[in-house]
């Protein structure tokens, strides 16, 4: 039998109700329906008759949805303040993860590359490798954190927007902002900028490609499409198959 609450779920999510409240409401309605069906069967109705009588007693989709949507305190933050959820929060999250990544870069620079003026050491074609295996792993993981952060943040925006059936405007703004900020970001490092040579790491934002070039420059160009792609695919699928 088709789930009698599918339409209600979609209506509630589109109405801005937080998914956890929707889940619980539907679970309680399903329990209530079971109790009503049992009561109707005890009163002598057939199984099919009890089912339809129980559904009528429970209430129509319009009434059930309206009663929930009228409770404004059950709305999700994405519905109440989309600018904060899709505009401010992703940027703050990205800034926090990047701060950690840059701190790790600085720490690795102090520990593994104490004699170098920059942590962005190019691997020489010949001769000894300046990075030991552990150090290499350390810096690659740090790079992964730095380049992966905007993609994960973007995908999270897409997941939140898809779960809550939100209109595309705010998620799209969030994705574009994250894509642009991460695509424009540049990391600089040098020992001479501060006294005692403890090293100084800074960031700038420009449309130019990464100063470090190579595959990271390419990744920088692709970060916006990679970040937005899953959400775009979901939107296209949802438009083609609205009931999916």
């Amino acid at each position: 039998m088709a789930n009698p609450f599918n339409e209600l779920r979609e209506r509630l999510l589109r109405g801005g109700i937080a998914p956890r409240h929707v889940r619980r409401y539907l679970a309680e309605l399903a329990d209530h329906l079971t109790d009503l069906r049992a009561e109707e069967e005890r009163a002598g109705r057939s199984r099919a008759g009890a089912e339809s009588a129980a559904l009528i007693r429970l209430g129509g989709v319009d009434d059930l949805a309206r009663a929930m949507i009228e409770q404004r305190q059950l709305q999700s933050w994405s519905a109440r303040a989309p600018w904060a959820v899709f505009g401010v929060a992703p940027l703050l999250l990205l800034a926090a993860v990047w701060s950690v990544a840059l701190f790790l870069l600085w720490t690795g620079w102090q520990v593994f590359l104490a004699g170098y003026d920059t942590p962005f050491v190019r691997v020489p074609a010949t001769g000894p490798h300046p990075l030991f295996e552990l150090a290499n792993l350390y810096f690659q993981l740090d790079r992964l954190l730095y380049f992966g952060a905007p993609i994960i943040v973007g995908w999270t925006i897409g997941i939140v927007a898809a779960r809550q059936r939100l209109k595309a405007l705010w998620p799209a703004i969030g994705l574009v902002v994250i894509g642009l900020v991460s695509g424009m970001s540049q990391v600089h490092a040098g020992r001479s900028a501060v006294p005692h040579g403890i090293g100084h790491i800074s960031m700038s934002f420009t449309f130019a490609l990464s100063a470090h070039g190579g595959p990271f420059g390419l990744l920088q160009m692709l970060v916006l499409p990679i970040t937005a792609l899953p959400y775009l695919i979901w939107r296209v699928q949802k438009n083609r198959f609205p009931s999916a």
Partner: protein, 108 residues
């Protein structure tokens, strides 16, 4: 009838914890079926009251069925007292108007 489901729910839960179906049946039976709530719409009221801190809930398994039981919090008790007072004042005023109107009509 605005605010009535809230008042009735708080009053019932003052006597002990209950789950949604139990609440609807209790309202129906204790009001001699004069007050019949839309069965499904009781949950948004419960969720709203819980969100406001007037109720708390816990999942409990009884006879093999897992149900969400609601109970009153101290904030809920205060809210009930306020609602009850407002309701008594309102119904008193309406009653006075109705009786007063009847007297006025009979005097004319």
């Amino acid at each position: 009838m605005n605010g009535v489901p809230e008042l009735l729910i708080l009053r019932l839960l003052q006597q002990g914890e209950m789950y949604g179906y139990e609440i609807v049946q209790a309202i129906r039976s204790r009001s001699d079926a004069v007050i019949v709530l839309g069965e499904g719409v009781v949950y948004p009221v419960l969720h709203g009251l819980e969100q406001d801190g007037a109720l708390k809930s816990r999942r409990k398994t009884v006879s093999g069925r897992s149900r969400i039981y609601y109970s009153l919090t101290p904030a809920g008790s205060r809210r009930l007292a306020n609602l009850k007072e407002a309701w008594i004042n309102l119904t008193g005023a309406i009653q006075m108007l109705m009786i007063g109107g009847q007297r006025g009509e009979s005097l004319q």
